[in-house]
């Protein structure tokens, strides 16, 4: 049976790739955690130490607390935005949904810097509060700051998934409840939200994981008592080969996998969307005058909140000196002039790396999705699990793992270690963003009826032709979504790149911003570069979206 052989071949290629670029490097790093540091023998004593150490226990609970609260705050931001725009006739719904996605393409550490300026203990808001009311609200103090930054940065994950879920609910489900006397919050709590639960859970799990694993934000806010920074501090300290850093990495990975698994269990068998029969498609309702005003106020407030890093970044990039004042002292173009000369290389690198990584992710995701959903390859689910597990691997761990694994491997022709070749950055980005594309592609393939493929095969098309001509075009929507998410988030990724950039001429924008932000002469140039990054990535995503859409349309004209 040649068909079976082909599917096994594809599956083993995929598995091989994951093994080489995910499992082995991560294994190399976390292996240290299981080593007795004095004898080198395998042991679990380091884990005993971990749970015996109150600092680590505290860090563990802090990380849990931050992740949990981030999910809560992110939900509070995402729920109204998703609900109002999907259920009511609301001017600017599309604008709101688009603006809602923008925080994702903000390099996370830039967001933290910008938020400090607005919400810090002597940031604009607190200076004003102090002036007017003589109070100071500790938005950014300790864990609060991490929670605020994480939730603002990652809430779009909930927004995207929840909006999709809300739009998929059959409208009669809600009408039936209204008909039986339910309305407002109760209707939302008892009917709408439970029905949108799988979408919400998918988004919430992502937020939880990202907040749990995120390193850049706590570091930038000088919060040490969390797991990711503890791991990083211990791994990257001078001369210390303390195994605890690696132990924490293992715990991060394991706990993240656990969280993924729980969210999967929780949403299993609860996929109520798109039943098919009955009245689907939503009839958006009108709101009464005061309701509308209230909703607009809430939404404008939320948008201001989630876009505050961007607003602050704009001010920073045009401001001269911004020190202990509500707004910068004066405005200038000088920072843009300063970065202008250096940005071209960063931008080309970013577009190239993120573009390649996202293309790779999409291709890989289609292959995995197909193997998992359409073949009978033994152990195929594991491809999905392992690729998704990449979500649970902190960027630093992957970065160090790559250095360890590929530094001794010289690439032929160019004759330099694979670890210092720019391609490794692409691979790292691709692995880190694979889960996003995979989710989108799996969902898309789920919705392609098997009978459409059978019809093609029935008419004499081979497996490959069927996949190429029928399956992939039908999955186009999911592929576009996967590509754009992977691309946009890969373009602003820093943690893995920071470890792997070996030459400035190879560096992407995020690295450039990081470097520019280190000047005592101020953060203006860094902010200018950051803003350029946001614009370039937004524009790049739009173009990618546009190009693929056009391609799809053209294919539709050709085949139709």
């Amino acid at each position: 049976m040649p068909r079976i052989r082909t599917s096994y071949l594809v599956a083993s290629l995929l598995a091989f790739f994951l093994l080489i670029f995910l499992i082995v490097p991560v294994g190399k790093v976390i292996y240290v955690a299981f080593q007795d540091s004095s004898t080198g023998a395998l042991t679990l004593v380091n884990f005993v130490d971990f749970f015996k150490t109150s600092l680590f226990r505290e860090s563990f609970f802090n990380s849990l607390y931050v992740a949990g609260m981030s999910v809560l705050i992110a939900s509070l931001i995402a729920l109204p935005l998703a609900y109002f725009t999907s259920r009511f006739n609301f001017g600017g719904s599309i604008l709101i949904q688009t603006l809602g996605i923008i925080p994702l393409i903000m390099p996370p550490f830039v967001g933290a810097v910008a938020m400090q300026l607005f919400f810090g203990s002597n940031g604009s808001i607190n200076l004003l509060l102090d002036q007017w009311f003589g109070i100071n609200i500790p938005f950014m103090k300790g864990l609060n700051g991490v929670i605020l930054v994480e939730s603002i940065h990652y809430f779009p994950f909930i927004l995207i998934n929840l909006s999709a879920a809300l739009n998929n609910i059959d409208r009669s489900m809600e009408e039936a409840a209204q008909n039986l006397g339910s309305s407002g919050i109760r209707l939302f709590r008892k009917i709408v939200f439970p029905l949108a639960m799988p979408g919400y859970l998918a988004g919430a799990a992502l937020v939880f994981l990202k907040a749990f694993d995120d390193l850049g934000t706590p570091l930038l806010l000088n919060v040490n008592n969390m797991l990711a920074p503890q791991a990083y501090l211990r791994i990257s300290s001078i001369g210390i080969s303390d195994p605890m850093g690696y132990v924490i990495s293992v715990i991060l990975v394991v706990f993240s996998l656990f969280a993924l698994w729980v969210s999967m269990l929780a949403s299993r068998g609860k996929d109520y969307s798109g039943g098919g029969k009955g009245v689907s498609g939503l009839l958006k309702r009108d709101m009464r005058g005061w309701q509308k005003a209230g909703a607009y106020c809430l939404i404008i407030f939320l948008l201001l909140l989630v876009l505050s890093p961007h607003i602050s970044l704009v001010l920073l990039s045009f401001g001269t000196i911004w020190s202990y004042s509500v707004l910068p002292d004066a405005y200038t173009m000088a920072h843009y002039v300063e970065v202008f000369g250096t940005t071209r290389e960063y931008i080309t690198n970013t577009l190239l790396y993120a573009g390649l990584a996202a293309s790779f992710d999409v291709a890989f995701s289609v292959a995995i999705a197909y193997v998992v959903l359409r073949t009978k390859v033994i152990g195929r689910q594991w491809l999905d699990y392992i690729a998704t597990g990449a979500l649970a691997v902190p960027g630093v761990v992957l970065g160090i793992g790559y250095l360890r694994t590929f530094n001794d491997f010289n690439v032929p022709i160019i004759d330099k270690p694979l670890a210092s070749w720019w391609v490794i950055i692409v691979v790292a980005l691709a692995i880190r963003r694979l889960p996003y594309a995979l989710r989108a592609c799996t969902a898309a393939l789920h919705q392609v009826s098997v009978s459409l493929e059978e019809a093609a095969e029935n008419l004499g098309a081979g497996k490959t032709a069927t996949v190429r001509k029928i399956v992939v075009p039908l999955m186009a929507g999911g592929i576009v979504a996967g590509f754009v998410t992977s691309f946009a988030t890969a373009a602003v990724e820093l943690s893995a790149t920071l470890m792997l950039v070996t030459a400035e001429s190879d560096a992407p924008l995020a690295y450039g911003i990081y470097v520019f932000m280190q000047s005592a002469a101020g953060r203006g140039p860094g902010a200018a570069l950051g803003l350029i990054a946001v614009v370039v990535v937004a524009f790049g995503s739009y173009l990618a979206h546009h190009f693929i859409e056009r391609n799809k349309r053209m294919q539709a004209t050709l085949t139709g």
Binding site: I238, G239, W322, S323, S325, L498, M554
Partner: protein, 451 residues
């Protein structure tokens, strides 16, 4: 048909543009002749030297690879088996010590003449000949003038000032484990004030911290943006911030050390000649003069360069008060490097909230006591202060090589054996420190309630 043709054309164009994009971004091929410098220095400094050096040496391209000092060390360690870096260029001598200890640096003898042996009381070059000082920097305090004015706080002059109640919650510093230069400051205080008193002072200062930053740059950044008022920083951060127009000021306290900033050739450097040329350029008169640039602001190691400096530029070769008070013991510092870092983190960085609370309680009690006399309360406060100051180990233990080995634990051979585990020791310390701070809070509160 027409459609299909258009489609092909478009696909072709896309492939072409991807191709062009790929070529544009294939700097890897051009890299072979590049001198790779792993550095922790900011862009303002590296760009200036890169441009000047490339101008002087046509044909050599300098690649500045920016990493935080700690990450730079890690990077050189991890890539040692297949090294592609030529130079390591950073401030903290300790970072160089670590690399030297791992055998990752190459010896080099400087050809340039006219450079003295000492800057302040610190030897400019590594006695073993592995790394060279090219500039000096001193530690001091910078503050945001707007911040201090708004909060009606006086500007500090000495380290001791920062222990005063008026600075509570207004100061910031980087952790020694995160920043090599900060480590030097801590070690300087420990050597200058003595082990017990030094730690006592550090904890009193630490009890006032608004934050302990993860990077040394976080301190000037926090002061510049007004997140906190006063920061303990290396001079060039303070001075270049001033030069950039931030409303900040800087002062050297009496007890400070002048720290050389260093450069070393990495072992198995792919371009040793170019690397040597770069070092010579740094130490040449032209290179030294560049240090006077307000955005760079380091103290040159060539005494004659100071003739060209602006008027109020400090000159350690004339003004012997800068960094003269402490005779810095490099060996001592090196032996307990990780141990000191670990102690600082356990007692201050990771227990900042507890320490801050304890310090606040003591300060409140002292404020309430002012002008009154209550022997019992005074005794309680003194007890509280002593509890905060208690150290898990004394100086002798800190210099006990067997003990401090727990914190290095570099097993060179499989037969090497180290007893005890860092996590275990740190947990013991943490338990002690935490309960002491808690007890101190209780005592101080009790004292206050008696008044």
């Amino acid at each position: 048909m027409l459609l299909r043709k258009n489609y092909r054309k478009m696909t072709g164009r896309f492939v072409l543009s991807v191709g062009i994009l790929t070529c544009l971004a294939l700097p890897a091929w051009a890299l072979e002749k590049d001198l790779t410098v792993v550095t922790s220095y900011p862009k303002d400094l590296t760009t200036a030297f890169k441009q000047a050096f490339e101008k002087q040496n046509p044909g050599v391209k300098v690649e500045m690879l920016k990493k935080k000092t700690t990450a730079g060390v890690k990077y050189i360690q991890e890539t040692a088996s297949n090294n592609s870096s030529d130079l390591f260029w950073a401030s903290a001598p300790d970072a160089f010590e670590v690399l030297k200890g791992d055998g990752l640096l190459a010896k080099y003898t400087v050809k340039a003449v006219g450079i003295p042996d000492l800057i302040g009381s610190y030897p400019i070059n590594d006695p073993d000949g592995y790394y060279k000082g090219f500039a000096g920097s001193g530690y001091g305090m910078m503050w945001n003038t707007r911040y201090l004015k708004a909060k009606k706080i006086p500007a500090p002059k000495e380290w001791n000032d920062l222990a005063k109640a008026v600075y509570h919650g207004h100061t910031g510093m980087s952790a020694p484990s995160r920043s090599g230069t900060t480590h030097l400051t801590v070690e300087t205080i420990l050597q200058g004030e003595g082990w017990e008193n030094g730690w006592k002072l550090l904890k009193e200062i630490g009890g006032n911290f608004h934050t302990v930053t993860e990077r040394s740059f976080g301190v000037p950044d926090g002061v510049n943006s007004g997140q906190f008022g006063v920061g303990i920083v290396i001079d060039f951060f303070g001075l270049s911030s001033m030069a950039s127009g931030f409303p900040v000021d800087f002062v050297y306290p009496t007890v400070t050390t002048l720290v050389p900033a260093n450069i070393a050739i990495v072992k198995n450097s792919p371009h040793p000649e170019a690397a040597a040329a770069f070092i010579e350029f740094l130490l040449s008169e032209a290179g030294q003069e560049m240090l006077l640039d307000p955005k760079i602001r380091r103290l040159p190691v060539r005494p004659e360069t100071y003739a060209k400096a602006p008027k109020d530029f400090p000159n350690p070769f004339i003004d012997k008060t800068i960094g003269a008070k402490v005779k810095f013991d490099v060996v001592k510092s090196k032996d307990r490097y990780n141990l000191v870092n670990s102690m600082f983190d356990v007692m201050i960085t990771y227990r900042l909230d507890d320490l801050r609370e304890a310090t606040k309680a003591v300060q409140d009690a002292e404020k309430a006591m002012a002008g009154k006399s209550n022997a019992e309360a005074e005794k309680l406060v003194a007890e509280a202060r002593a509890l905060i100051a208690v150290l898990p180990i004394d100086e002798n233990k800190s210099l006990d090589n067997e003990f401090s080995a727990i914190f290095k634990k570099k097993r060179k051979k499989a037969t090497d054996k180290v007893t005890g585990r860092q996590a275990e020791v740190e947990q013991q310390w943490d338990t002690m420190v935490k309960s002491n701070y808690a007890e101190a809070i209780k005592l101080a509160k009790k004292a206050k309630s008696m008044l």
